[in-house]
């Protein structure tokens, strides 16, 4: 398969799941996909299209809804592929791709920690940076940056 064939073949394989395709500099393409079929798409990209490296998983808060970003790298095509899935702002959740790339485990933990997107089927969805028991997700737009204050948090290990 050539790099240009990846997106058309993915569209042929998942006709309803790939919602839009855009070309952007620095990446092969930016795909917006249906959040429900992220795991089969991820598995197809890894097995059929050599995107063996999950470089980054991130989240963006757009107030009414949230965006989950995946950046994948292929050693064969030497290019990145950007995948974006939109999830609702109320109880945001998406299936975990940690079964496809083990490297996604910590990225998904970080996204849960900072942006509050729950990854269904994640083996170990603990917070990474903030202490367990902290009730906020700091990268949400509803969190204003202000002066530090005392917060009571549970101890990590007792």
């Amino acid at each position: 398969m050539k790099a240009e064939e990846v997106v058309p073949r993915l569209q042929a394989e998942f006709p309803s799941a790939v919602q839009s395709v855009a070309l952007r500099p620095g990446v092969l393409a930016r795909l917006e996909v249906d959040p429900g079929s992220i795991v089969p798409i991820a598995r197809w990209l890894r097995d059929q299209a050599t995107f063996c490296h999950c470089s980054m998983v991130g989240g963006v808060d757009w107030v009414e809804r949230r965006e989950v970003l995946y950046l994948l790298w292929s050693d064969e095509f030497r290019t990145y592929l950007e995948i974006s899935a939109w999830v609702p702002g109320e109880d945001p959740h998406i299936d975990s791709v940690s079964g496809v790339w083990r490297g996604a485990i910590w990225h998904e933990r970080e996204t849960w920690d900072l942006v509050g997107i729950r990854f269904v089927g994640h083996p170990d969805l603990r917070r990474v940076f903030l202490p367990e028991g902290y009730e906020f997700h700091p990268l949400l737009k509803s969190m204003e940056l202000h002066e530090p204050e005392e917060l009571e948090v549970k101890r990590r290990h007792v």
């Binding site: 970003l69 950046l71 490297g103 485990i105 940076f129």
Partner: protein, 381 residues
């Protein structure tokens, strides 16, 4: 003997920063490991949303305190894509040169700290002595030794001073000679070899699955280096090779870093040659005016959404001294970025700790974790 959990950290000489490695041990043998991060989390991604584009550069130096210029570079590449700013060629060369000097400083710092962990004191002093020469060079044109605040949207703040290239060449000649000393001190030391060869093995398949990048991946025999595979800045015009090793162990990572330092010296020499013959601007002529104006204090119009600026997203990837660093910037037409997301190579490399620690002994943890090249400021952000 029963198994038990032991906390190595947050304050332990092995951590080289502030994080906690929880290991489950059965006698002396490690059976499980659970790294715990976040002790140095400063919320840099959140603060970025409240700073103008040029002000974020200050935070980038604090992101990684041994390789600040590489983080400035990756962030600004993403911002320039998001804002549609083009960079003059001379600025690109100065950025590449700074990036490679920074890589040298970072690798020498790694070498000094790592070899001291193993018990050899002399290499630490040698390393610190030579790193200072690079910091002197950086100081001569950025004005600072650690927190540079040197790059700007559209280029760099100022050109290198007169006579800089000759001074830099002298330092490169000196370093090239000293790398032989570094190797001679380690490669002929039985202590060093016994504590590095065959330890902390992470094979290529696991590296790819776990997302491990940088010298750890190249030490496993995978020749992935974004400077060549996903070229950026002035790298397409420069000539260098990607060192690899097939040991996949601590010793292999040491060998890869030593060779990378030689390649960095070669790249710096090429950029100096180019800089000597191509005078010109170092800052783009057309830069949106708002990127440089100061931010009002928080609470007062701290996040102004002024319609009318072009919107866009920027994405950049570089090969940082520790591995693959990514920056993703969303510009929603405001004076501040809407969202800035970084990928820290160190976080991913630490996250894989269980895979390269299990089966080894407790006394092997300092050399194995040392070979990862940990910068906690970068992994916690």
């Amino acid at each position: 003997m029963s198994e038990m959990w032991v906390n190595m950290g947050p304050q332990h000489p092995m951590t080289h920063g502030l994080w906690n490695l929880r290991v489950k041990i059965d006698g002396e043998v490690i059976v499980d490991a659970d790294p715990e991060m976040g002790f140095l989390h400063r919320g840099i991604e959140k603060i970025c949303e409240y700073r103008r584009y040029n002000e974020v550069v200050t935070l980038m130096d604090r992101t990684c305190y041994v390789a600040g210029l590489s983080w400035e570079h990756v962030y600004l590449m993403a911002v320039e894509q998001a804002l549609g700013v083009s960079v003059p060629a001379r600025a690109e060369y100065i950025r590449v040169m700074s990036h490679e000097l920074q890589r040298l400083a970072s690798h020498i710092m790694w070498y000094a700290a790592f070899v001291q962990d193993i018990g050899l004191m002399t290499p630490f002093l040698y390393g610190m002595r030579d790193r200072d020469l690079i910091l002197d060079l950086l100081q001569s044109y950025t004005g600072a030794r650690m927190t540079y605040e040197y790059m700007r949207v559209g280029g760099v703040r100022n050109d290198v001073p007169v006579g800089f290239t000759d001074r830099c060449r002298k330092v490169m000649d000196w370093l090239e000679e000293k790398i032989h000393d570094y190797e001679a001190l380690c490669d002929r030391s039985d202590i060093f070899l016994k504590r590095t060869v065959g330890l902390g093995i992470l094979k290529a398949k696991e590296c790819l699955d776990l997302g491990v990048t940088g010298p750890m991946l190249r030490a496993a025999g995978v020749p992935r280096d974004l400077r060549r595979d996903h070229p950026y800045s002035a790298y397409p015009e420069l000539d260098f090779v990607i060192p690899t090793h097939d040991g996949a162990d601590v010793y292999g990572r040491y060998r890869v870093r030593m060779e990378e330092m030689r390649q960095s010296i070669a790249i710096v020499r090429q950029t100096l040659e180019w800089l000597d013959h191509h005078p010109g601007r170092v800052l783009a002529e057309k830069v949106p005016r708002f990127v440089g104006t100061p931010t009002p204090p928080p609470g007062r119009e701290s996040y102004i959404l002024r319609r009318g600026y072009p919107k866009g997203r920027g994405f950049a990837a570089i090969e940082e001294p520790h591995g693959e660093a990514l920056a993703y910037v969303i510009n929603e037409g405001a004076e501040h970025p809407y969202r800035v997301k970084f990928r820290s190579p160190v976080m991913v490399n630490i996250a894989a700790a269980k895979d390269y620690l299990v089966g080894y002994r407790v006394s092997d943890i300092p050399p194995i974790m040392g070979s990862v090249d940990i910068c906690v400021g970068e992994s916690d952000r």
